[in-house]
């Protein structure tokens, strides 16, 4: 066969360089987002015992929902359980740094907030935490997006994102939805 293989392999190599360049562009963009804009996956690795959640300081029922901590940090705490979110509506301001903290006393759940990058699995044994800054206002959907049992489809909460000036917590720092929707 007069066609030599090294010419073929050379053209494959040339193609591999093109491929390498494209992969490199994507990796650089991801790195930029991670390092310059702090967009990372939620990797909190904070343990909490699912059997004694109701006794824990943080996830007792009275402490759930949105609260402005004394240091000014805005934190929403939500329990995902078969088959509801507690609470099923949270209020948060747009254009401010906010933190969402979730955990589960039973099985695996997960949430996303529609139209945003907020997304995390909620694994029993861990506190799932997402820092974000909402860029638009309105009632956003926050469904459970991981199969958690036959009632999974009913697990749907609301994130009410209000303009910063309309975000007025009570003196104890708490703020709730009032009547949902």
């Amino acid at each position: 066969m007069p066609i030599n293989e090294s010419a073929i392999l050379k053209s494959e190599l040339r193609w591999a360089i093109v491929v390498g360049g494209i992969v490199a562009v994507i990796l650089i963009a991801i790195l930029y987002a991670a390092l310059a804009m702090h967009i990372n996956p939620p990797s909190n690795r904070e343990y909490v015992d699912p059997k004694t959640l109701h006794l824990s300081a943080e996830f007792t029922e009275a402490n759930l929902g949105t609260r402005v901590d004394p240091n000014g940090q805005i934190v929403a705490r939500v329990i995902a359980t078969q088959f509801e979110f507690v609470p099923n509506c949270i209020v948060l301001p747009a254009e401010r740094d906010v933190t969402l903290r979730f955990t589960s006393p039973d099985v695996i759940h997960g949430i996303l907030v529609s139209g945003t990058n907020v997304n995390t699995m909620i694994v029993p044994g861990y506190v799932a935490q997402v820092h974000t800054r909402f860029t638009k206002t309105g009632d956003l959907l926050m469904p459970c997006h991981e199969f958690c049992g036959l009632g999974h489809s009913q697990m749907l909460a609301t994130v009410r994102v209000v303009p910063p000036e309309a975000f007025r917590p009570k003196p104890d720092g708490r703020i709730a939805c009032g009547n949902p929707r």
């Binding site: 093109v18 494209i22 702090h38 945003t116 820092h131 860029t135």
Partner: protein, 64 residues
């Protein structure tokens, strides 16, 4: 017993000089076309990826 169906016939489709000539002629041009076509394909993939990155992902705000 059935006789196995896989003897000589394996190498029947090339080998004659006419086919080799056509192959050599084809190899004169190949892989220019393939390079262009696959470059267009992955170029479109990259454009699509960057489009989603800049137009959807970044505007949706930071998370972490």
């Amino acid at each position: 017993m059935v006789e196995p169906p896989y003897p000589e016939s394996a190498h029947d489709y090339a080998g004659d000089s006419e086919e080799l000539e056509r192959l050599e002629a084809a190899m004169d041009e190949t892989p220019r076309g393939a390079l262009v076509v696959s470059a267009i394909a992955v170029g479109l993939l990259l454009v699509g990826w960057l489009g989603l990155y800049f137009l959807v992902f970044l505007p949706r705000g930071p998370v972490g």
